[in-house]
Every structure is written in C-alpha cells, then in structure tokens.
Symmetry: C2
C-alpha cells in the first residue's frame, strides 16, 4: 500500500509520498514514489504514484522514453514537449492506461491487481501551479480551491485532519504540518504505510526556492510533531465538556 497527498493552496504546491511497498505482508521494501519528471528553467513536473509498482514504474519509464504520436512516422513525445500541465496530464494518463492494459493482460487469471493512480503537479512556463489526480484508465481530475488537496492510496485514516485544516488561504507552514499529521495518523493505523517520506514544496512565487526533503525514520521534527500532536489531542479532548447524559 501507499499514501500520497498533494495540496494546492494560494501559497503553493506541496506533494508528499511515503516509500513503503509490500508484495504480500512478508515482503516489505522501500521504493521512491515521488518523482521529478521535469526540472528545467521553464517547467517543474512532479509525480507521486500509488498502486501496482510495476504499472506505475512502466508508465513513468514510457513517459521518459517518449510516447508515440498518432502516426508511426511521428516523433516520440516527452514531457519536454508539453505546452501546458493539462497536456502533461493527458500524456501521463495515456502512459498509465497503456501500462495498466499491457500488464493487466499478463496478470489475467491471477488475483494480482494492476490498478494504479498518479498525482501530477507542477508548472509549465508562466501558468499557475496545478495538481491532477490521474486514474488507471487515463482520465483525470484537477484539484480546485474548494477542496485544496487530492489523495491516492490509503487515504481514509488521514483525511479527517485535512478536511478540517485546509483552505485555499492556508499558509504553507500550516499546510505542511497538516499533511505530516495526516501521514502520522495513517502510519499509526496502517503498517503498509511507513517512513521515510519524500516531500516537495513549490511556492507560488517563482522566485522562491523549491524545497525537497526526505523525512527519515529518526527525523527529530517528525517525531516531535507526532508526540506533540498526540499530547495536544488528548488535552483538547479533555477540554470538551462531558456528555450531559453521563453527568446527569
């Protein structure tokens, strides 16, 4: 399993992915699921992937090698050719759907699931930061300001804190804290999601630097956040009045 979240607010884009992959419960490994697909002066394109690792790795390799055009004589397309993030999302969708079809066919008759999904975020040229969730069939949705985040993988444990915490106006530090709390809740409840976490922060201001970080097992800030959050939650709960039907 996997948990990835992308958060798009007025101040910028944050994408975080865990790194735990398991083939059965007794075969657990660390695989990077946050990928920089393009990092040029005119474009920064980030992908986070969940689902069948063979499908998402194939899809990303196909994008890197280049996708075929409509005619055999057309040159291969890569993300360097994409003029907009919408076009980049179409290309990633095309690759993901092709990888799922090809690998899914070989898995026919087994109980192995070839489903997968990708969060794709970034910016091309002067267009605003955008964030897409791309489904295994290649279709996709775009993150909008009413619900400024998208999740893939093991998403339910960490959703309530995001539902409560985030608005389009949230500053980046609060967005990152809420997202890390969401990961902490997920990691505690589901063994198939685990540290290290890969994190990237892209401020809306193009002059502000992009921040990339891997949060390792013994990261002092993440450990403090987890412990402090647990203590504050318990303090908060005791501040809520007792149920009247119990004290009566």
């Amino acid at each position: 399993m996997t948990y990835c979240v992308g958060l798009l607010v007025e101040a910028g884009l944050v994408v975080i992915a865990d790194t735990r992959t398991n083939a059965g419960i007794d075969n657990i490994s660390i695989f990077k699921k946050l990928h920089i697909l393009a990092d040029e002066s005119d474009r920064l394109i980030i992908a986070a992937s969940a689902g069948s690792l063979s499908v998402t790795q194939s899809a990303l390799s196909m994008i890197e090698e280049g996708l075929p055009g409509d005619h055999d004589s057309d040159p291969l397309h890569t993300l360097d050719d994409a003029r907009t993030m919408f076009r980049a999302a179409q290309m990633v969708g095309q690759a993901l759907s092709a990888a799922k079809r090809a690998i899914g066919a070989t898995l026919h008759g087994t109980s192995i699931n070839a489903s997968a999904s990708i969060l794709l975020g970034g910016r091309i040229g002067d267009e605003p930061l955008t964030l897409y969730q791309i489904y295994a069939e290649g279709n996709f949705i775009e993150c909008q300001s009413d619900a400024p985040f998208l999740q893939i993988g093991e998403l339910k444990y960490g959703k309530p804190i995001l539902d409560r915490a985030l608005t389009w106006a949230s500053p980046l530090d609060e967005v990152v804290k809420a997202a890390l709390i969401s990961f902490d809740a997920t990691i505690r409840s589901n063994l198939s999601v685990g540290l290290p976490l890969d994190l990237i922060i892209v401020p809306t201001d193009p002059k502000a630097p992009t921040i990339r970080r891997r949060i390792e097992e013994e990261d002092p800030y993440f450990n403090e956040l987890s412990a402090t959050w647990g203590r504050l939650l318990n303090e908060a709960r005791t501040q809520i009045p007792d149920p009247p039907f119990l004290t009566a």
Copy 2:
C-alpha cells in the same frame, strides 16, 4: 454503509451505531442498527450490525425465533438459554453465517454483497462485560485490554482518534467523547454514515444504571462537540513548531 464502534474499558462498555442505510447513493434511509437482544435481570446483550441489512435483519430475527439444535427433536435455542457471552457469540455467529449463506445464494450472479458483521457486547450473570466482533462466516474475536475497542463498517476515518485516545484505564466520559469525535470525523468524510446515532453505556458496576440515548440531527451536545473539536484541532496544529526546512 455504516459505522459502529464498541469500546470496552475497565469502567464499562460503550456501543454506538449510526442509522444511515443506503441502497445505492439515491436511496438513503434511517434504520436502527443498535439492538437490545436481551434485557433481563441476569443478562444484557447488545448487538450493532453492519453490512447487508437483509442479512443482519434475518440473522437477528433467527436468533429471536430460536436456533435449531443438533437434532430435529431438540428445542429451539434462544439467547435466554445462553449461559455465557461466549455461547451467545457462537449463537449469533451461527445465525449470521446461516443468513449470509441463504441470502448469498439468492444473490448469486448479481453484484450485491451479502457480507455483514456484528458487534456483540454485554454481560450474563456475574461474568465480566465482554465485547465480540462476529464475522459473516460466524467466527469471532473478543476485544481485549491492549486495544480496547472494535469497529465495523466504515472504520478508517474514525480510527486514528481512538488509537490515540483510548486505554483500558480511560474513564467512561472520555471514552464516550473519543467515540463521538470518531463518529464526527467519519460523518464529515463519508456521506454514507450519518446521524442519528444510537448509543448505549453499560457501567462495569452492576448497580450503576445503563444509559441509552439517541443523538438526533440537532443534538446540541454533539453539535458543540463537533464545533469545539474543530476549533481545538486548529489551535493545536498552530502550537506545533513550524517545519525547520520551511523556516530556514
């Protein structure tokens, strides 16, 4: 969908169930899922059900009518005959599994799921309060003090707060508050879980009264708990130090 939680701590047993049932997304109704199966001087047996409503209703009706013994000439067994909660759990498991098999056979070839599960809690005679989770196949597990709660239905959204909040030593008022916060998180994130909630509190002290309550849509305490919790969560998050990689 449904969300039910049973919490068994040193101070007592709490069982809460929502009442929303849907057949597709456009057919939503209120059905009671918290049932008092026995309420006599020597026994109190409570069930909360999730999954196929036709299966759980059939199972509960079979238990009420009485289950057949090993021989046709044996009298029917009801929960009034159970000498222990373990035996009551076996009977409920037998009924649930029979209902699932019978209804599942009629649903063969459709995409309708005949799966269901039941939380069974209570006390018979002088034995301690116990809580079981009964699966559709009739097997069951017993709640123990290391993880003093069991959940069925749409359980993931509301699990992190219970993981953080509850120990065997938690007092009943904190248990009820944590459980209601867990329901609030689930209701906010999943439309298929909704008010009213049915709640029962059985103190360990047999002389203390059992508390039963329905929390309706406009329950002032639940609304205040939800609003206060949201405010306290946001205050707690702002108390966590900013990520060092953002402030640097």
